[in-house]
């Protein structure tokens, strides 16, 4: 029982991080038909922005702020201007392929310019354990889960309750009509990229203290987020949340009860199961979009 609670909490923490990344992934798809195969590397990179700032003797809070700012700039605005805008003119597929190339470039770039080794990363949430029903629960896991959840709910509230949020949704759902109502469509799309950059940066700051900062750490994360998004229905934010949490929990239980060796295969099994039995995803609707 105690072990189960531990596993569940660890799974929810991992899952909440997957959810952050999967939501960003979904948002990019919705508003600008971008399938970002570099999303995992987008989570890997902000940690190195922070490490670079720490190496320059910045205090942690400042380094995190710099990391967030650099992510918004590079993974948000620059990614849109330099990669998505020019490639999308050629179609969805060329853009997707381009993001694959970008993922390799980012990975190799960090490996060459920073280090091929895993670097420890400071945690901004407290460590230690609390006991609950006889189980020793990691405070870090709980904080990650709560923090990610707060961010997700804040984002949902922004999208649903503010005028700008609804203009973003309108842009995603019907860009040509949004344009003829005078919604500044280009700006709304830019906001989406900035939000994605913010989400991956937060995911990076939460996950790196646990799994260390390493050039290759985006591989599993990117795949997990991709699968979480598909499991959740691909076009739904709440689907991405459910998909992320489910994947995180299943992943942790499988590692404990099945085999750590097969752990990597578990998300794929989940994906296949969903595609077979519910191809539109847990929350998805069949898409009518003509790409």
């Amino acid at each position: 029982m105690a072990n189960m609670i531990n596993l569940l909490m660890a799974g929810l923490a991992t899952g909440a991080i997957y959810a952050l990344v999967a939501i960003g992934f979904t948002l990019l798809w919705q508003t600008s038909q971008t399938i970002n195969f570099a999303q995992g590397e987008f989570v890997m990179l902000p940690a190195f922005f922070v490490l670079a700032a720490l190496n320059l003797k910045a205090p942690l809070w400042l380094a995190l702020l710099i990391g967030l700012g650099a992510s918004l700039l590079v993974l948000g605005a620059l990614f849109k201007r330099a990669v998505v805008d020019p490639m999308l003119r050629h179609g969805v597929l060329p853009l997707a392929i381009c993001t694959m190339a970008l993922s390799i470039f980012l990975k190799e770039g960090v490996k060459e310019s920073y280090s091929a080794e895993a670097s420890p990363f400071p945690s901004f949430v407290p460590g230690g354990n609390v006991s609950l029903l006889g189980a020793q629960i990691s405070i870090q896991s709980v904080s990650i889960f709560v923090f990610a959840l707060v961010v997700v709910f804040a984002l949902q509230a922004f999208l649903m309750r503010t005028s700008t949020g609804r203009q973003m949704q309108a842009t995603a759902q019907n860009p040509s009509v949004a344009r003829l109502l005078g919604i500044p469509v280009e700006r709304m799309i830019l906001y989406t990229f900035l939000i994605n950059a913010g989400l991956v940066a937060l995911a990076s700051f939460l996950v790196s203290p646990v799994y260390l900062a390493k050039f290759s750490s985006g591989e599993t994360l990117g795949l997990a987020a991709f699968i979480a998004a598909i499991v959740g229905g691909f076009n739904q934010i709440r689907g991405a949340i459910a998909g992320g949490l489910l994947l995180g929990v299943v992943d942790n239980f499988a590692a404990a009860y099945v085999s750590t060796q097969y752990r990597g295969a578990v998300p794929l099994f989940l994906l296949i199961a969903v595609i077979l039995f519910r191809p539109q995803g847990l929350f998805g609707r069949a898409e009518e979009r003509t790409v």
Binding site: R166, Q169, Q173, V177, L180, L181
Partner: protein
Amino acid sequence: MSGSKAAEPVLRVKDIVAGYGEMTILNGTTFDVRPGTITTVIGPNGAGKSTVFKTIFGMLKARSGSVTFKGQDITNAPPRRLLTLGLCYVPQGRNIFPELSVRHNLELGGVSAGAGVDVPARVEALMERFPMLRKKSGQQASTLSGGEQKLLEIARSLLLDPQLMLVDEPSIGLSPLMVQEVFGILKDLRQKGVSVLMIEQNARSALEISDDGLVLELGRTRIQDDAARLLADPRVGQLFLGGVVGDAA
């Protein structure tokens, strides 16, 4: 304005040339819309009717020619400016935001509102006028029937109190009852002094409620005349009115 003509056109489209990429669809399209009237555009499929609307509304660039609204040049003006000047546009097909609520769909019609406009009050007024919208205000717009969605689109386009409405095939896919309702709204608007420029396949019913009509063919105005005279014109009858209702499939 005593020196000007009795009825200066609310909209004047003059020698418009426009198209997609290399392709030219509009070859010098020219016509006027008189204030406070309903003007119906008819013409065969592919004549460029929708293209005219897109060009007037700044969605497609006019290569030459001019569009004038109440004496102001609006050629190639962006939608936002047109909306604030008093134009609105309801395109062909479905134009809602399916996953937003009916109320939020309506509100988005006010995005381009100037500082002095009380958008919530306007939303209220529209719900007063279209009770169906109030009844379903919390529902996702995708749950509305086709006709209700059209009403929602029309209501949304009225949010900024337009003086000229462009509406592209409003009756397509609607039940006869719903068509009557939509045409009723357009007649109401005319009564309030709003001008309507409408494209319709349902040519006979549309011309019957119209003041003026024009026939567009190959991107040019073939005939512009009184709606009643167009209805009686044998050339028009042969091409667009005879059997149209039955053959429309």
